[in-house]
Symmetry: C2
Subunit: 197 residues, 2 copies
DNA sequence: GTTGAAATTAGTACGAA
DNA sequence: TTCGTACTAATTTCAAC
């Protein structure tokens, strides 16, 4: 049942998820050892491993590198407001900036968030004023520095432990939760369908 | 020269960086194949590979998983304002939330940014109002959704291509760069030393 | 989906340059 | 340090159950 590339492709069962769970913690484990840890035969492990890879559930294997040791101790987030209908150009420019590790299009007052890693704070300034500001697609930016990366999980999976669903019966004496302080920010006006522009 | 764990430990040369470059694109490559691609002997590759691992330059190997295929198609960023001197509690609570993939402490108007992956938008709401709002350390939150992840590099390295330094001689006719629109946001008041509280 | 054996490949331990 | 080789151990493939 791999006619094209449409649909769900592979239905992930509990065993698949367990394989992913092991693999994301130790991407270099041998399939034999993987089989043992998951509790299946080696042949089965090979079959499922290959299926996960072919299906795209596993996109790639990678080494997590200590950027500080690698000489890139400064991490910053740059929130970018992009001029409408210039997304293509913006994406193209991003691809040419090696210090950009991550870029996501978001709802809210900004249009995109990019994460960069450089060796010192001055480089962030150079990057934003000389490179980003020079892109016509960039209307405005807002930069914050990352002081500490508290938590970084390789990848979140549905099987990752208790996922408390919506509270069925609220506490008899509901805690004084400052709901008014919880804001959800939708997309800015005029940004209905900007994906894959 | 590995007395304790202090100092730079290992001085990374060009070969080390090339090894990291290969490994972050293909974390499961054999050391033999790695040696060939880098252009060194197998013995040397084993030595350096082990040194990078022992030194911590390579933190771990991991599988990149397609979260959509894994059933977690919704990604959101939650910007959190944390009550001073309650960071420890905040961190502890985060560790108990499996849907949190990333958390960084930032400068700017918020104190932390967390990235979560869930299966539907309703879960984000539940997460923020039921779980996050229930943590005393959390003063306020602001949530945005990620519409598309444009770029995701395994890890940025200093050797990743041309890193244009500060422009030596500016263009004769300087482009009309809206510098006034480029904001740098420092830490909020009273947050001098909040790392590792 | 499992087990067990053959073929291949990976990892280790040397001495030499 | 790095390289090359030989040796040992492990993994992957493939077969039959």
């Amino acid at each position: 049942m791999r006619s094209g590339r449409i649909g769900i492709g592979l239905e992930l069962d509990a065993v698949h998820l367990k394989i992913l769970q092991v693999l994301r913690e130790n991407g270099r484990i041998s399939v034999a050892a993987l089989a043992e840890r998951v509790g299946i035969s080696r042949a089965n492990a090979y079959t499922r491993f290959e299926a996960l890879r072919a299906d795209g559930a596993i996109k790639r294997f990678t080494a997590e590198i200590d950027h500080v040791r690698a000489g890139l101790g400064i991490t910053a987030l740059i929130f970018v407001t992009v001029r409408q209908q210039m997304w293509k150009q913006f994406r193209a420019e991003l691809a040419r900036m090696p210090e950009v590790e991550y870029c996501a299009i978001t709802t809210g007052q900004h249009d995109a968030m990019i994460q960069v890693r450089v060796s010192d704070v001055a480089e962030v300034h150079t990057l934003v004023t000389d490179r980003l500001a020079g892109i016509p697609a960039v209307k405005a930016t807002e930069t914050v520095f990352i002081l500490d990366e508290v938590l970084k999980r390789p990848y979140v999976l549905p099987s990752d432990g208790p996922r408390p669903q919506r509270r069925q019966a609220p506490d008899p004496s509901p805690a004084e939760v400052p709901l008014g302080k919880m804001r959800f920010v939708g997309a800015a006006e005029g940004r209905a369908a900007l994906r894959k522009e």
